[in-house]
Amino acid sequence: MKLHEYQSKQLFAQQAIPIPRGRVAMTAAEAKSIAEELRGRVVVKAQVLVGGRGKAGGIRLANSPEEALEIATQILAMQIKGLPVRKVLVDEAANIQAEIYLGVTNDRAARRPVMIASAEGGVEIEEVARTAPSKIARLHVDPLLGLREYQARDLAASIELPREHWRAFIDIARGLYEAYRECDATLAEINPLVITGAGTLLALDGKMVVDDNALFRRPKLAEMRDLDEEAAAESEARKYGLSYVKLDGDIGCMVNGAGLAMATMDVIKLAGGAPANFLDIGGGAGADKVAAALEIILSDKSVRAVLLNVFGGITRCDEVARGILMALQDVPLSVPMVTRLVGTNEEEGRRLLAAKDLPTATTLAEAARLAVAAARQGVAA
């Protein structure tokens, strides 16, 4: 789960990381009154969960409350990479002398957290990694020990930070690691961390991604999920314990198991079609889950055919077939559905579905071919 900049910075502030004074606004009038409170120049920043806000014109400087009103009006009417801007953060403007990057994330290969710092802040770290890899310092943290003081000092020295800023930098780095731990984050990043004209360090922008699997023990973070920022079908799927990702094609996929679901998408592409979604209905594949999944798939108007691919292991194919037939009593099919049942009792499962005029296939390649043909015809088989 991604957090907004304003949410991330508040969580950083709880770890005594200095952030600019400011607040989030839902309307331009609110943005103006925040600017009045803050006095002086402010920055109005679009709060959307995508990168590249600055380039898209979603971050602008305002010299007066009136200007803040005008800019907020414009930004709140924007869409950035397809996402409408619903909130703006109004922060007091900082006097920037230098920009640093500081982040912590999970290193899958090393199986431990890695702290990353660079004297080249303010741009995406992936960009720095491409153009100036030597400007990036990496430091692995023992997950049982946490980030130690000397390690944070090492990091400061590696990016050649002037010594007078070390104390502040070490506290911020350790605070950031604490925020990462306490939020079960998979990424916590300050970019840029600036050195101000007054010689202090300030976290100007923040980003956090929280491990969905840890939300059960982070109820306050779970409440921060911004439902406006995700497709309605994805929220709906989560309610039923289904894993759903919307894609651009026209063949809806319903599969048990994530690996098999990905493979099904791939085979549809090989057959000349395009998958409309990824959907894992999980083990068991009972009637209730099949019905919920079918409703979600059919709510996507671009779907012109459905491919159901289930491997029956411990749950036998005939049980799965009965589940499908029960689900179809509740959710009428508006497009053709090709089914493929493989595994235990597959013949019986196929026989049950064939009796209801659902085209069945034995191999995955054949199922994909049938689904692609059905989507092209666009009529119920």
Partner: protein, 299 residues
Amino acid sequence: MSILIDKKTRLMVHGITGREGMFHASQMLEYGTKIVAGMTPGKGGEWVLDGKVPVFDTAKMAVEATGANCSVLFVPAKAAADSMLEAADAGVALIVCITEGVPVQDMMQVRSYLDQRGTRLVGPNCPGLLTPGECKVGIIPGHIASAGGVGVVSRSGTLTYEVLYALKARGLGVSTCVGIGGDPINGTSFVDALEMFEDDARTDSVVMIGEIGGSDEERAAEFISDRMSKPVVGFIAGRTAPPGKRMGHAGAIVEGGSGLAVDKIKALEGAGVKVAEHPDAIAELVAERGRKARRRVKR
């Protein structure tokens, strides 16, 4: 021979009194796995599965009383880290964690602790292990595979079952099937499993099923090219997966341009692995390699 589990495996089941734990314990027992103990705090002293399996309050008591050397976990995600650490402290050599949804920071701590103790972990978020005809630890349907010489290692569940089923249909048996799981941080990697298969006398070829996310497949390719003498057939799921989206498995995500299926396929092909275009072709490629190998032997 086989890898990780065989007839001598003495299994303890964490969460045996839960719905999932009880169901799969009965399936494992039916398959012939020696389940020597169950573990559920507060239920010590009970006997389950028609009085065949004693339940203990702690892993330590279970190991002391029964000599369990392997532990399988069917516990909720929030209890998984604790159960893995408890099993390791009780002294079992192999832990198989079926549980899905374990927080990744928990896994980093658990992995670090288990490494220090030299305890092997398979999973989490995995279907477990199957040595056909001998032992099943986890949830892989037992009847879909027969005993033989193909080693199978996979990040996926049902996709692996498909492959086992197709291998069996072609008369190809399996030495051991290892489900390493779909999480970003797990216990046993592809390289670990490949190394064990390379050293296993019964295994004559290997199927590895990977997917998008991380770089475990790339490291496997390096290992195969440097160290493996046995033929490997591969498959990588997720060629059509969009970047930045998690595809069901916590670990199946393309991030910052890394973890792409094409890169993994390229690396594996570079190491001499035959990579199947679709899952149906995997068993076919294994059969083909087997025929070639036999022809070489004849000459």
